[in-house]
């Protein structure tokens, strides 16, 4: 059984490692999605090192929590979280998007241990998560379903079909986390197609909604725990994140949604992240 990490300092250091992995992976792959992946390092750290009940040594453990990634394009951060928690060797991270790699450009179920679902086309993951939660509830299983969704994919009508069904079946065992980073390929979500007021939308669809700072690992964990205490209603945690967080030149820039770093970009990003790591290690707590 996987041991949870409770020290926030340790968790922040893991998130730093994941960020560095993502920068290197995307540089090696020469394509992929930088900003969203880096911006999700804290949430994936919280999930894989604290929130989820899972066992990297036994990926098919029947009682594991299910983690469904809907916005598959952020998979570099997902792969790094899986490798760092022990699902497969870290060296393999550098094969991302290459011929013969198990690390497909968007996750493929069965390709790598720890991947619950193949994803890519936006708006599909929440439906799959709802299906799993319906079975878990009907069979009174203890495991929960967590689903990562993006803010841009709220523009897909299917998201709302799934939201309605989750409320109908009173899926208290379903926690969705929305990466509210405000960017999508063509610009800012509120310019491309406004999704606000997104919290009110989910509330009116019968969901419990929690807003959280998506870079505060403790608050992310608290929000997940709170969602477990809400019965008969699914929870949407709206995690407000900064795309490219902790890499200064990527932060808040939608141009970085779908492009990889150059060698110069990588060196600069890694040096910033190393500095941050040194400072964090020196901190008392």
């Amino acid at each position: 059984m996987w041991k949870k990490v409770h020290s926030i300092k340790k968790l922040n250091l893991i998130a730093n490692v994941i960020r560095q992995d993502v920068v290197k992976m995307l540089y090696e792959a020469k394509s992929g999605h930088s900003a969203g992946s880096i911006g999700l390092a804290d949430i994936f750290t919280a999930l894989y090192f604290n929130v989820l009940y899972h066992d990297p040594a036994n990926p098919d453990w029947p009682d594991r929590d299910r983690f469904v990634l809907s916005n598959g394009h952020v998979c570099p951060v997902f792969y790094s979280a899986l490798a760092n928690s022990g699902y497969f060797p870290k060296e393999e991270l550098m094969t991302l998007r290459k011929l013969g790699s198990r690390l497909q450009g968007h996750p493929h179920r069965g390709a790598l241990p720890g991947i619950e679902n193949s994803s890519g086309p936006l708006g599909q993951g929440l439906s799959q998560a709802v299906g799993m939660a319906i079975v878990a509830k009907s069979e009174r299983k203890k495991w929960r379903v967590y689903c990562m969704v993006s803010d841009g994919e709220q523009q897909e009508g299917q998201s709302w079909e799934a939201a309605m069904l989750a409320a109908k079946y009173r899926l208290g065992n379903l926690t969705a986390i929305m990466d509210r980073n405000n960017i999508q390929i063509d610009g800012y979500t509120e310019e491309v197609l406004p999704i606000e007021p997104i919290a009110e939308k989910y509330r009116s669809f019968g969901w419990n909604v929690i807003n959280v700072d998506g870079h505060n690992i403790k608050k992310i964990i608290d929000a997940c725990n709170e969602s477990k205490a809400v019965y008969e209603r699914p929870t949407m945690i709206i995690a407000h994140t900064i795309p490219g967080k902790a890499v200064s030149f990527m932060e808040q820039r939608f141009e970085w949604h779908g492009k990889p770093p150059s060698q110069e970009d990588m060196n600069r990003a890694l040096s910033e992240l190393e500095n941050m790591r040194t400072i964090m290690e020196e901190e008392e707590i």
Partner: protein
């Protein structure tokens, strides 16, 4: 098959066969689940739903979500049957079937009723004639179009037994029940309704029986037509196609579907790959149809026995 093929006792829709098969599966296996998008009665899923409400999910008018939810349920080890009108599933949710189901490699089976022009008065929007083309293009997908109610029942049971996704196409049109519970049904193996040496008619679904009647009419004109019930369009029975291509020197495919992408394409592709025998693809010729009764439409588009016989006769003239 029944003793006298010219005298079938009952006429029933293939959707009823699906409903019966699903109910049988539900009784035998508590891992079988079913979903419907607001058409549980029309798709005959309601027989299962009434008996096993805990394993039936009513998703409302939301076919895209239905495919995704089915994927999630199947992910938990269940055998899932999803039902809707063919116009909307797969008509509306191709992407979800492709990725949430096929690329996730889960055991979700799609039952699509109300296919083809036999939907009749509802008109062209609901008469989907492109569904087989969509489904047979997908990796891992098996495509079945049963010829009668009994075969639809067996196809449903067979679909549950294979771990890859299946597409089962049915109709609400009453058609003669000419197969019996004793007939063997095997996915990918066509069955010969009538032997012949001049031309081989490959048909599926609701026009299969009329293809047999067409062959009976052709006999009076001195044409000896074989009739093959090609219920599985993917994987198509290549062995039978090549055998009859050689035996008859002419194949005519008959289907309530566009001539692009259906059984006609599957047969033509097989023949083009392996031998040189003419294949006439008969069906709907790249167009939308219109409202009328099913029998009026079958007559207008030459998919009734007379129409099929005429088409085959025309091709026989070209052959000679």
């Amino acid at each position: 098959m029944i003793a006298d093929l010219n005298k079938p006792e009952a006429k029933k829709p293939t959707r009823d066969g699906f409903g019966k098969g699903l109910l049988e599966l539900g009784e035998k296996d508590s891992n079988v689940w079913a979903l419907s998008a607001d058409v549980s009665e029309s798709t005959r899923t309601h027989w299962f739903a009434e008996k096993f409400p805990g394993r039936f999910i009513q998703v409302g008018v939301a076919e895209q979500n239905m495919a995704g939810v089915a994927s999630g349920i199947a992910h938990c080890g269940k055998t899932v049957f999803v039902s809707a009108f063919a116009a909307f599933s797969p008509g509306r949710n191709f992407d979800q079937i492709r990725v949430s189901v096929c690329y996730n490699d889960v055991n979700v089976n799609f039952h699509a009723s109300h296919s083809g022009i036999t939907v009749g008065p509802d008109g062209a929007s609901h008469q989907i004639l492109e569904d087989i083309a969509l489904m047979r293009s997908l990796p891992n997908m098996i495509v079945i179009s049963p010829a009668d109610m009994e075969e639809a029942r067996k196809a449903t049971i067979a679909a549950a037994a294979v771990k890859t996704p299946c597409y089962i196409r049915t109709s609400r049109q009453n058609t003669p029940v000419f197969t019996t519970p004793d007939d063997k049904f095997e996915i990918g193996k066509s069955s010969v309704i009538r032997e012949g040496k001049d031309v081989a008619i490959f048909a599926h679904g609701v026009v299969t029986y009329d293809s047999f009647l067409a062959a009976e009419k052709l006999r009076q004109k001195g044409i000896d037509a074989a009739v093959i019930n090609c219920h599985t369009i993917k994987p198509v029975d290549e062995e039978a196609i090549l055998k009859y291509a050689k035996q008859c020197g002419l194949i005519v495919t008959v289907e309530d579907h566009q001539v692009i992408g259906g059984l006609g394409s599957a047969v033509a592709e097989t023949v083009a790959d392996r031998c040189h025998v003419p294949v006439k693809r008969h069906g709907i010729y790249d167009r939308f149809c219109e409202s009328a009764s099913a029998s009026e439409l079958l007559q207008k588009y030459q998919l009734d026995a007379d129409g099929i016989a005429r088409k085959v006769e025309e091709e026989m003239k070209v052959k000679k």
